[in-house]
């Protein structure tokens, strides 16, 4: 029964453990290069910085594994941040803040899913449309001004439990929840099979449209949650922060070993991918490398991850 193990190629080892090895390698090199790196404050800062994007990446993982994508995540996150800030400022209710923030994200997600399943729009197109809608609504609501008066949310943005900042805790809870959802539930089975072979999923009696709408809605809820966390970190709703987060999230997902063609990938991979990106940015910062160069490194990272993805597939074919 074990004979197959011998045939594991480098690419498939990477698929399984590789990103983790790369993470360890990066960690060790960073520690050697710069003595400030290992300071616990620095490490915790890295996790804090990646928290918002990683929460979004949880949703993008579900979408990409099922063969879809959400380009609107960044600006919907901004929208949620601004509206939840407004609600908090005017009502002072933390509960309502979360309800509105997450609810807005869910609604946008559901609408994306509706466009994709009802009118057969490509997810790329549907969410591109949503990007513009969300940006417009945010601009109308904020008039381009930051929304303040959110002192009450300080516990979320600045607080911590046993030394772990709240945003990091929220991020870990999101990763844990989606990891469980993808591994242990029927929706998880649907996500992987729709992305792997949608026709086979239909022929197996899966209500693919319903699953897609649920996936978009759950992902939207995460985007909304990310919006509230973002607002709490900035202590205001900033209409200009959040654009481009979708690409950072997608980068984390791809670096984390998720196949862009669907059917393969995990949310823990996305977390590690996100940490890798965060680590690299951090060490480049510590080395005083300017942000322009950091962008180039990130670009190379994406290309590298996809090259490995393609190689893995090629190996499978020749086997």
């Amino acid at each position: 029964m074990e004979s197959n193990k011998k045939q594991i190629s480098i690419a498939s080892i990477y698929r399984k453990y590789g990103i983790f090895l790369i993470l360890v390698l990066l960690f060790v090199t960073s520690a050697i290069i710069n003595s400030n790196f290992l300071k616990s404050q620095n490490l915790i800062n890295i996790l804090k910085q990646i928290s918002v994007v990683t929460i979004i990446a949880c949703g993008e993982t579900m979408l990409i594994v099922s063969g879809m994508i959400d380009l609107s995540a960044g600006l919907v996150c901004t929208m949620s941040a601004c509206f939840s800030a407004g609600v908090l400022a005017s009502t002072g209710s933390i509960l309502l803040t979360f309800v509105v923030g997450i609810g807005l994200g869910m609604s946008a997600g559901w609408l994306n899913g509706f466009l994709v399943t009802r009118y057969k729009l490509q997810p790329f197109i549907a969410t591109l449309a949503m990007t513009n809608i969300a940006a417009g609504i945010t601009q109308i609501y904020t008039n381009g001004q930051a929304v303040g008066g959110v002192e009450k949310i300080r516990f979320l943005g600045q607080g911590s439990i046993i030394g772990i900042p709240m945003p990091v805790i929220v991020m870990l809870l999101a990763v844990g929840a989606i990891a469980y959802l993808m591994k242990a539930t029927t929706l998880g089975v649907h996500i992987y099979s729709i992305g792997g072979n949608e026709k086979a999923a239909i022929a197996s009696g899966i209500n693919v449209n319903r699953s897609k709408r649920i996936i978009f809605t759950v992902s939207g809820a995460l985007v909304g949650l990310a919006g509230v966390v973002l607002m709490s970190r900035l202590m205001s709703g900033q209409p200009s922060v959040g654009a481009g987060y979708e690409f950072d999230a997608i980068t984390a997902v791809i670096v984390g070993g998720t196949s862009f063609t669907g059917g393969i990938g995990t949310v823990t991979g996305a977390l590690i991918g996100s940490i890798i990106v965060g680590l690299i940015n951090n060490i480049l910062n510590l080395l005083h490398v300017s942000t322009q160069y950091q962008l180039i490194v990130k670009g190379l990272l994406i290309a590298g991850a996809v090259i490995i993805d393609v190689k893995t597939k090629a190996n499978k074919k020749s086997a």
Binding site: M1, E2, S3, N4, K5, K6, Q7, A184, T185, T186, L187, G188, V189, H190, Y192, S193, G196, N197, K199, A200, A201, I202, A203, S204, G205, I206, N207, S259, G262, G263, I264, K316, A319
Partner: protein, 503 residues
């Protein structure tokens, strides 16, 4: 080159993959103007051998001699340049391009550097087409052509490169009888030109119709090579499978008399019309007919993969509204589709995941999967159907055709299906696995499951069905009992049925 001269010789070929010897001590001699049939079960090594000859695999043991000179092709392009072309089983033309564009892709005749001489390209294509007695317009888009016509374009592509060896991998698998005869006429012309042809086919009557020489492979070993006329078909089969295959079909259990499925007046515009039939509990009903007659389409409509416009489907006395496979599965109907890779399984997921997919309802509570039950049930069903794999975590896409088919059956047999629709259940799988599947079908019927069986191979439908519905042009034109059904009778009905419709 004169007829019968040796063009290519493969000597003592050995090829290993990690953990498996795919070929060992294989010799093959190809002569000008002769058709060399290469036969063997799936996994016997035919494709591997051809991939060595056509340059796909550059590392192997043994020797390849071209015109008596030993050489080693570096890659496919290299083999192509030296005159060895392959017409693959799955053709991949660019559908939006014309015949001429496809044939000269990457080596277009030029007026001067960078400017294509389109007139010249068109004229050359027309000449090549004419040399095989074909009169297609060179400027026809590829997507307008039938599979058979695309195949001819592929062959012309090979000729236009001055290929001296053309490998045809299962060229007739998608062709009708008439198209196959046309292909054979063209192969005769290629022989006249002194081209050596390797003909790979599972259909032995075709092998006998066109072949001159034959080589039998089994489990990577060369079993025999020689003149085709010196060996009988029975002996050839025996060499392929390594044993005498007397009866690959099991005896059928007695069918039940209680009606299970009743289909009345089922129609789908321009596809099939007014189709009515019944399947009893424990009964196997076969659909016989030519490809494209509407057999699969009717079955797909019953399963909900395609829509139907009118008609009634009654299962166990209950009238069903079937709009998707979901509706069918809820009512204990399952289908093994013709195109396994497209509809049957998710290649990038494991055996386990594939078996869970249609059975989420059985394996979960409030949406949470029960891992223990899954492992036990999946292991159990895989053992029952002898799905051969390293573990239940093995990816479905890496299994052999026969095991993939057993996997597809497994995923349905986990649930209590009452009606199983099998569309070409043994296509592309070897004799051993076929036999296992036939036995399984008989067992399922014995347990009271109704089976709808569609198969292109007439002996298969006739031997495995209690009753045969003959289908032509989207109509059921007659029904034959097991005792009545013979190949002659079915063919006669098909031919006469066509006449009826012509009136």
């Amino acid at each position: 080159m004169a007829k019968n001269d040796v063009i290519v010789e493969l000597k003592n070929i050995r090829k290993e993959f990690p953990g498996v010897v795919a070929l060992n001590h294989v010799n093959l001699t190809l002569r000008a103007g002769r058709v060399h049939a290469l036969v063997g079960e799936n996994g016997a090594g035919k494709s591997t051998l051809m991939k060595i000859l056509s340059g796909t695999y550059a590392s192997y043991g043994g020797e390849v001699l071209l015109d008596g000179k030993s050489l080693r092709f570096a890659h496919e392009r290299d083999a192509l340049d030296k005159g060895i072309a392959i017409v693959p089983q799955e053709l991949n033309p660019i559908p939006e391009m014309t015949i001429a564009e496809n044939i000269f892709l990457g080596r277009e005749p030029m007026k001067r550097k960078g400017i294509i001489n389109r007139k010249e390209r068109s004229r050359l294509t027309k000449d090549y087409l004419a040399s095989l007695g074909l009169d297609y317009d060179p400027e026809t888009k590829m997507w307008k052509l039938s599979v058979a016509q695309r195949q001819m374009v592929e062959i012309i592509k090979a000729i236009s490169r001055n290929s001296r060896v053309i490998i045809m991998d299962e060229p007739t698998s998608a062709l009708t009888g008439v198209e196959t005869r046309q292909l054979f006429a063209q192969i005769e012309m290629l022989k006249q030109k002194g081209i050596a042809i390797v003909f790979i086919s599972h259909k032995l009557d075709e092998v006998y119709a066109i072949g001159d020489d034959v080589t039998v492979l089994r489990d990577g070993e060369m079993i025999s090579t020689g003149l085709l006329k010196d060996v009988t078909q029975d002996h050839l089969i025996a060499m392929m499978v390594g044993r005498e295959v007397k009866d690959i079909y099991p005896p059928l259990p007695v069918a039940g008399s209680e009606p299970l499925l009743i289909v009345k007046g089922l129609s789908s515009k321009d596809v099939f019309e007014d189709v009515s039939f019944e399947i009893h509990k424990g009964e196997i009903v076969g659909f016989a007919g030519m490809m494209g007659a509407g057999r699969s389409e009717i079955a797909r409509a019953v399963f909900g993969l395609d829509r139907h416009s009118s008609g009634t489907i009654i299962m166990d006395g209950k009238t069903l509204r079937i709009k998707s496979p979901r509706d069918a599965i809820k009512n204990s109907i399952a289908m093994v589709t013709e195109d396994r890779a497209a509809y049957g399984f998710v290649g990038v997921r494991s055996i386990k995941d594939n078996i869970v997919l249609p059975n989420c309802d059985l394996f979960s509570k409030h949406g949470i999967l029960n891992v223990k039950t899954i492992k036990a049930k999946v292991t159990d069903i895989c053992r029952k159907l002898s799905v051969k794999a390293a573990s239940i975590e093995t990816l479905a896409g890496t299994l052999s055709g026969g095991n993939q088919q057993k996997l597809v059956l497994s995923k349905w047999l986990v649930r209590n299906v009452k009606l199983l629709i099998l569309d070409e259940p043994t296509r592309g799988i070897d004799v051993g696995a076929k036999q296992e599947i036939y036995r399984l079908i008989a067992e399922l019927a014995a347990s009271g499951i109704g089976v709808l069986l569609i198969a292109s191979e007439m002996p298969e439908v006739l031997s495995m069905s209690h009753r045969v519905e003959v289908i032509t042009n989207g109509h059921i034109i007659g029904e034959l009992s097991r005792a009545e059904a013979t190949q002659d009778k079915v063919m006669k009905m098909i031919v006469e049925g066509r006449k009826h419709n012509g009136e």
